[in-house]
């Protein structure tokens, strides 16, 4: 019993960290540009699909580097063509535009790759089992948890310790002021969007060997991102990480204790949190209010 709890706990942490990596991009874009980017999920999906194409050809590590760059480029195109036009208008428009585009993109995935699910196997160096006494755990799941934690750590360092990060944080608090103080706000927003897309793509790669690749995976990962953002607080990196962990661990452990409500648990927790703290656990005043 204890062993399965630990196993599920680790699963949950891994899941949560991957979710957090996706949610961070979404949260940053929402915080600094006021846009609910529905196409964010599709970036995650593209990460997985591009990786599936490249992995067989150029190997794991090269694909891991190249794929997020490809997804980031895609994000750049989306930002320049579409999202840019809705800055400053009703947040509803950003939502609708990205929703429509996400629908179209997902359909493109279906056209190119077909509706069936694909699978990717874990890279050779991490496809074994870790054994601590009687406790067994897949190596790959540890790998993605560690890698996701590293990535989140790097993002947090950038946001918290660098000048650029300070400007981003200021932009989430009051983007107009940041622009008025002489920073190039449109370029800032583009950079944040592109970074977010790349992060989502990277998460898609990490997730692929564990949860498979299917055409609607983008839409499926978007929901937890919403919950994490609301739960953890908009535009807060620690909030997103904590939110991600809460969602991941609760989902994972729920399988053991109340399997019927697995999907609903994150929403219930979110509801409880925003009842007591409407801005989320770590939320601060931001552009979306």
């Amino acid at each position: 019993m204890l062993i399965s709890i630990i196993s599920l706990l680790l699963n949950g942490i891994g899941l949560g960290l991957v979710y957090a990596a996706v949610a961070i991009g979404f949260s940053l874009v929402l915080g600094i540009s006021g846009v609910i980017n529905f196409s964010h999920g599709v970036m995650y999906a593209f990460g997985a699909y591009f990786f599936w194409i490249l992995n067989g050809r150029i190997g794991f590590w090269p694909s891991l580097i190249v794929t997020p760059i490809l997804v980031a480029i895609l994000g750049f195109i989306i930002e320049k063509l579409l999202v840019r036009r809705v800055y400053g208008s009703d947040p509803l428009f950003g939502l609708l535009i990205t929703l429509g585009f996400a629908m179209a993109l997902e359909e493109i995935i279906r056209i190119v790759f077909g509706p069936a699910a694909y699978s990717v196997s874990a890279p050779k160096f991490a496809s074994g089992i870790v054994a601590i006494g009687d406790f067994l755990y897949p190596q790959y799941r540890l790998f993605i948890a560690v890698l996701a934690a590293l990535i989140l750590g790097v993002v947090w360092m950038i946001i918290d310790r660098t000048n650029f990060g300070a400007i981003v944080k200021a932009g989430m608090f009051n983007s107009e002021m940041v622009g008025a103080l002489g920073n190039n706000l449109p370029r800032l927003r583009t950079i944040v969007f592109v970074l977010g897309a790349g992060l989502a793509g990277l998460s898609g790669i990490l997730a692929a060997p564990v949860w498979g690749i299917k055409s609607q995976m983008g839409t499926l990962v978007l929901m937890p991102s919403f919950v994490i953002v609301l739960l953890g607080g908009l535009g807060s990196i620690p909030g997103t990480i904590v939110g991600g962990l809460i969602v991941g661990v609760s989902t994972s452990l729920a399988v053991l204790f109340m399997p019927r409500f697995v999907d609903i648990i994150p929403y219930v927790l979110m509801g409880i949190v925003i009842y007591f703290k409407p801005r989320g656990l770590f939320g601060e005043q931001n552009i979306a209010e």
Binding site: L30, G34, I36, L82, R85, S89, P91, L92, F93, L95, L96, I97, L99, G100, F101, A102, M103, A104, L105, E106, E107, I108, R110, I111, T219, M223, F226, V227, V229, L230, L234, R260, F261, D263, I264, Y267, V268, M270, G271, I274, P278, A288, E289
Partner: protein, 310 residues
């Protein structure tokens, strides 16, 4: 007399009245019925979205609740006698109840938070309907629903059901129009234009939001219940949040944000596109998504917005 002739309602009434007689598409009565159901749904939803400016992205929840409430009422209360008025009533009231609850709960939230929470709400209901097998039939849904009669009138036949829904639609549309053009409706528009000013003028914004939510929930539930009897089943898919997204698209595409009749145009496009395009190309969603994006970028106020200058 002239004013009556220019009333769009007369034309809508006439066009829809003769729908089953039209060449080619007239034969697809259930398509027409589905269109009417969407009309009811989007018209009332527009009271929230276009008139009050509430970014409710989870309105499909109330439609779905109406569907399930009607189905469950039928299966457990009415059974074979097939009398339809009670499930319809319960469906509508269930929609109003859930909408009222949510509307009251989030009346102080704004913009992004409001939208995200509405999506979360419909997702929770979706999962509940998916997992609570004993009650909702889970993934397989509920089946075996029969529409026998409404207060004695037989509505089994698809054409007869079409006219039944048509009558309900005309009634609902008249009621919704009355609400939209009343001082209540004007207050809603004031809230959309400038919520702070409306509040300072003494309007109880929370109450208005709650009220408009409950009203649109009532009609959404009714539409869902009618859909249940159209398909004679109930599935969890009606509660999926993508359905809510479809509703918003249908409402705004036609110009719901500036015109009362916008949702009707948008619904026609949406339902027809889905039925007709899907016959030609299985990946029609691509065109639909792209055209929607382009239309909203070029005409942010939707199609009817081209004619109305704000």
């Amino acid at each position: 007399m002239k004013k009556q002739i220019r009333d769009p309602f007369l034309w809508i009434f006439l066009i829809l009245l003769f729908y089953p007689l039209y060449p080619y598409i007239g034969r697809f009565t259930s398509l027409g019925t589905e269109l009417l159901i969407w009309f009811i749904f989007t018209l009332s939803f527009n009271l929230c979205l276009g008139y009050t400016g509430l970014p409710s992205f989870g309105h499909g929840a109330f439609y779905g609740v109406g569907t399930y409430a009607a189905a469950l009422t039928f299966l457990h209360v009415i059974r074979k006698s097939g009398a339809v008025w009670l499930p319809l009533l319960i469906g509508a009231l269930a929609g109003a109840l859930f909408a009222g609850l949510l509307g009251y709960g989030i009346r102080k939230k704004k913009g992004v938070y409001f939208a995200l929470i509405t999506i979360a709400f419909t997702q929770v209901l979706y999962f509940v309907s998916w997992r609570w097998d004993e009650v909702t039939g889970g993934e397989a849904g509920l089946k075996g629903i029969v529409r026998n009669n409404f207060l004695g009138i037989d509505i089994q036949d698809p054409v007869k059901y079409y006219y039944f829904v048509f009558a309900l639609f005309m009634l609902s549309a008249l009621v919704i129009r009355r609400i939209a053009h009343s001082s209540f409706g004007k207050s809603l528009q004031a809230i959309k234009q400038n919520p702070i000013r409306a509040e300072y003028m003494g309007y109880n914004i929370g109450l208005y939001k709650f009220a408009v939510y409950a009203i649109s929930g009532l009609f959404a539930g009714l539409a869902g219940a009618l859909y249940c009897f159209l398909t004679q089943s109930a599935f969890a898919s009606v509660l999926d949040w993508t359905k809510s997204g479809d509703v918003v698209i249908a409402t705004l595409l036609g110009g719901g944000s500036v015109s009362f009749y916008g949702p009707l145009v948008g619904s026609v496009i949406y339902v027809m596109a889905q039925e007709l395009l899907s016959g030609f190309w299985s990946h029609w969603v691509l065109l639909y998504g792209l055209s929607f994006v382009i239309i909203i970028l070029v005409f942010p106020n939707g199609l009817l917005g081209i004619f109305k200058r704000k």
